[in-house]
């Protein structure tokens, strides 16, 4: 039974209920703000209210991808698996938020632009970004050994995040040379709309933090189970 205490990997305490409650209250307030409190947009009407969650999800997704970058670099520097757990948790949550962006976008675009999708700069780059991090997650499923998986995923994660600005600039320059579809907000945003947007962003950030925390703990526990199983099979032999 020697070495039992060292081999255990700390997965951290369970998610505390107050933090869940805070995030839910934020989410409720943001929904109230976006659906009822915010003024109705003059030309687009009701469907414009999707904008608050659409934009805040995109910003939050970006932050999650930046966390992948930080986690990947920190893993390569320290070789502590906890950084890999942060990367995988952030990548999954980031992909989830970008899925929300890619689904809510067309729902808004159909009544406003009359089409579900157009190969506009921002749409194309969001789509490509989503594909990049889906590839990251697929790569992770194809490597079994934890240390090796963490290492190759970290290198690819760094390359993928470095690609984000390049993707944006290239597509932006590429598309601005072509006729552009009319994008709704040429002007400035109403003050109250800004407040609601910020509230929504705070709420989605809260959801992101919570989900990353849960997914991180799950990954840690998975490792712990694997380690225990290995130990058990060694002891029985």
């Amino acid at each position: 039974m020697a070495g039992e205490s060292e081999s255990r990997i700390p997965s951290g305490p369970a998610i505390s209920w107050p933090s869940v409650l805070v995030v839910f209250l934020l989410l409720a307030a943001a929904s109230y703000g976006a659906l009822i409190k915010a003024p109705e947009e003059a030309t687009m009407g009701l469907v414009q209210r999707i904008f608050y969650f659409h934009v805040s999800s995109a910003w939050t997704g970006f932050i999650a991808f930046i966390l992948v970058f930080i986690g990947s670099i920190a893993y390569l520097r320290t070789r502590a698996l906890k950084w890999d757990w942060l990367s995988v948790a952030s990548a999954e949550v980031g992909v989830a938020f970008f899925t929300v962006v890619l689904v809510t976008g067309p729902i808004w675009a159909k009544p406003v632009w009359g089409i579900w999708w157009t190969w506009d700069a921002r749409l194309t780059s969001s789509f490509l970004l989503w594909v990049l991090f889906v590839s990251y997650l697929i790569l992770r499923t194809l490597v079994d050994e934890p240390e090796r998986r963490a290492m190759v995923a970290a290198v690819f994660g760094i390359f993928a995040t470095l690609d984000i600005p390049l993707v944006y600039f290239s597509i932006w320059w590429f598309r601005t040379q072509h006729p552009q579809p009319v994008i709704g907000n040429g002007g400035s945003l109403d003050g109250r709309m800004w407040q609601v947007l910020m509230l929504c962003w705070a709420a989605t950030l809260g959801v992101m933090a919570l989900l990353i925390r849960i997914r991180y703990r799950l990954e840690a526990m998975r490792m712990e189970v694997d380690a225990l199983r290995l130990e058990a099979s060694r002891n029985s032999r």
Partner: protein
């Protein structure tokens, strides 16, 4: 052994391995030829249409070729168990990666230069007047392709389904290269022809960003 010297040694080794069999180059050239023929069915390859779609198709064919051709770069070492021997050498680990990148760059550029005239003839594109700037664009795009491709080849070599995985990792990351090289080539074919400084700068920055990233983080991939 200095980095440059070690890199040159690895490069020479890669070239020697390839030119003994020439299987990689031959197969890739035929593959791109097949892609070029198949593309001709997707649109009417008249002169004006070719000028519009040709550069994109050409670059797409090169990217596909790269995503298949770079596969053996690390796989060869793995099947022969020679990567461990390379790692034991008293050289900077980055030089292994750099030598392979340089070799892959030369292979890809050679394939491109052989296929460029074929493509020009088949698709009625006059490339002679713009040959020098076109080769510059080809070289800059190919540096980006070879850099990321070599690193991802090392990534994919450690995973299952590696043949399928490499294109999956490589193609989305290379989307900016596809756009920039295609647009630069389209600019060259325009009348009057112009070499867009924006896209040249962009390709150069892509190469610099990923060469630096490969230099900083690539050597982790060579660990056992």
């Amino acid at each position: 052994m200095s980095l440059v010297h070690a890199t040159a040694t690895i490069l020479a080794k890669e070239l020697r391995t390839e030119f003994r069999s020439r299987e990689l180059l031959g197969t890739t050239i035929v593959f791109v030829l097949i892609v070029i023929v198949l593309f001709s069915f997707t649109f009417n390859p008249t002169s004006s249409e070719s000028r519009r779609f040709g550069p994109g198709l050409l670059w797409l064919a090169f990217l596909f070729a790269g995503s298949l051709m770079l596969q053996p770069s690390f796989l060869r070492e793995q099947t022969n168990d020679t990567l461990a021997a390379l790692r034991l050498a008293p050289i900077d680990p980055f030089s292994i990666l750099a030598g392979k990148m340089a070799a892959n760059f030369l292979f890809l550029l050679l394939v491109e230069l052989i296929l460029l005239p074929v493509f020009a003839v088949l698709y009625n594109i006059a490339i002679f007047p713009i040959l020098a700037p076109l080769v510059l664009v080809l070289a800059l795009g190919t540096i980006g392709l070879a850099t990321t491709g070599t690193v991802f080849s090392a990534v994919a070599a450690q995973a299952r389904l590696r043949e399928l995985l490499l294109p999956l990792l490589l193609l989305p990351v290379l989307a900016p290269v596809l756009i920039a090289s295609t647009e630069a080539t389209v600019g060259l074919l325009r009348d009057p022809s112009e070499l867009s400084p924006v896209w040249l700068t962009f390709l150069t920055s892509f190469d610099v960003v990923f060469l630096t990233a490969a230099w900083l983080f690539g050597e982790y991939l060579l660990e056992e």
